[in-house]
Point group: C2
Chain length 254, copies 2
DNA sequence: TGCTGTGAATCGCTTCACAGCC
DNA sequence: GGCTGTGAAGCGATTCACAGCA
């Protein structure tokens, strides 16, 4: 779920649960793979397995989009690809800017998944004058002095921040002031934005810490497993092998 | 998300809710910043603001750890840093390997947040023989032939996969076979792992698609004139035009 | 007085189980 | 017979509101 909610609870004509929205890209990817293999139809069971969720959840998710399946048969792959793409807004072109062209920014610029799914890297922006003009992934880096102009000229509404932590908030402010209303933040900082702006964050260090927590728990169990009589140890053991199963993507609201 | 799971619900006595675990790193970061500024105590309200959550949630989260605050005063910053670190398992050293040293892998290797929080990059591994021996972030890249030996020699239990999608599952299988039980996956693939192995995934393309969904909704929302709540930055809203049904997918395969 | 800690109410997501249709 | 679509039950997480303590 993204934070920058326009704080009206239910203005929507068709409200799709946030958790469902977060899974649609997963389904879309699995469906695209099937489509490439020219598979015509797929059952909820099969598709769920490919997407790594359970089939009841998948059917419920799809029921929010409409009745796109056929009982006794399954779902038409091509049709479903189109419906989900449309729902996600991927039938249009989204120009994106990436700010901060270090290793990470370069990795993002080179990431193939961009172009293939309705996103277009409209510009790369960096504060280092030495970077200006240098092409990364075939796109010349532009200096951050021109940020506002770049946003406007390209009609950008989605920005990716891959700067060091200290630069993230100022960059964010400028992006928002220039008209960006969705931000994907890779910097390890909590960004503050006005209402109406969505921020999603991706934070390596947080993910690792969550893994460490579970890892520690696993380790504690092995040693406790022996002295079976202890109730607390037994309790911990039970929780053991349940995957974190986040489902909530590896991302938190800011 | 872990593919294989025993569907055993979390324990309730000693178990900390998963949602709480996911926020602890956030609190820890905010507390560390306070600690660096030598702030001795902090209230739930202040800390919540710094971490970007609401204060009731924060207090509830902390209540799962124990009663570490003082009524009328707040929380002792240093003490809380320690308690959370301990709970997350960060008082010990976690050796981590990164597999796939492209732009992204290099970015991860260079990421400072690693060392500062109990994680140590024990090795960098890549399948390209030309990379072998080349130092990245001061660490020589090793060839993936030696993966198993590297895992064992370093006692690694956490692996980071930053390979292309196609290589991810084989790499994952080898990591798991060699003893890794926690995986952070950056490749756009659903990994399947045996029970007892945790997988968390970070997927740029999914995040962008979620943003696009909300962006699209904002654009379509002009009609909601109702009561005052007016989204800020009403600059560019025309760009997104809800594609009417009828046409064939404009989505390209990956 | 001020702020924590927490039962109780609430919300939203997941799962179950089966009716409905092919 | 097989598989979708969905009301209803179940369950975890969030929020409320206030009791309890420095």
């Amino acid at each position: 779920m993204a934070t920058g909610r326009t704080h009206r609870p239910a203005t929507r004509s068709r409200g799709i649960p946030e958790a469902t929205v977060a899974r649609l890209p997963l389904y879309l990817r699995a469906l695209t793979a099937l489509s490439e293999r020219s598979v015509p139809t797929v059952s909820s069971e099969e598709l769920a397995a490919a997407a790594g969720v359970n089939s009841a959840k998948l059917r419920k998710d799809f029921s929010y989009l409409g009745s796109y399946g056929t009982r006794g048969v399954g779902y038409d792959v091509e049709y479903l690809v189109y419906q989900i793409s449309r729902e996600l807004g991927l039938t249009q072109d989204w120009p994106v800017v990436i700010v901060g062209i270090g290793n990470l920014g370069a990795a993002l610029a080179n990431y193939g998944g961009f172009a293939s799914r309705g996103f277009r890297v409209a510009a790369l922006i960096d504060a280092d004058p030495a970077m200006a003009g240098k092409p990364v992934a075939g796109i010349p880096v532009q200096h951050s002095d021109d940020l506002e102009k770049i946003i406007e000229d390209n009609g950008v509404s989605i920005g990716v921040i891959a700067t060091p932590a200290g630069a993230a908030q100022p960059v964010c402010d400028r992006l928002v002031a220039a008209g960006v209303t969705s931000i994907l933040n890779f910097a390890p900082t909590v960004l503050s934005v006005p209402d109406g702006v969505d921020v999603r964050k991706v934070d390596l260090s947080i993910e690792l810490q969550i893994l460490a927590f579970h890892e520690q728990r696993k380790a504690g169990e092995e040693s406790a497993a022996g002295d079976g009589a202890h109730p607390a140890a037994a309790a911990r053991k039970e929780a053991a092998d349940q995957g974190p199963d986040g489902d909530i993507p590896a991302v938190m609201p800011a």
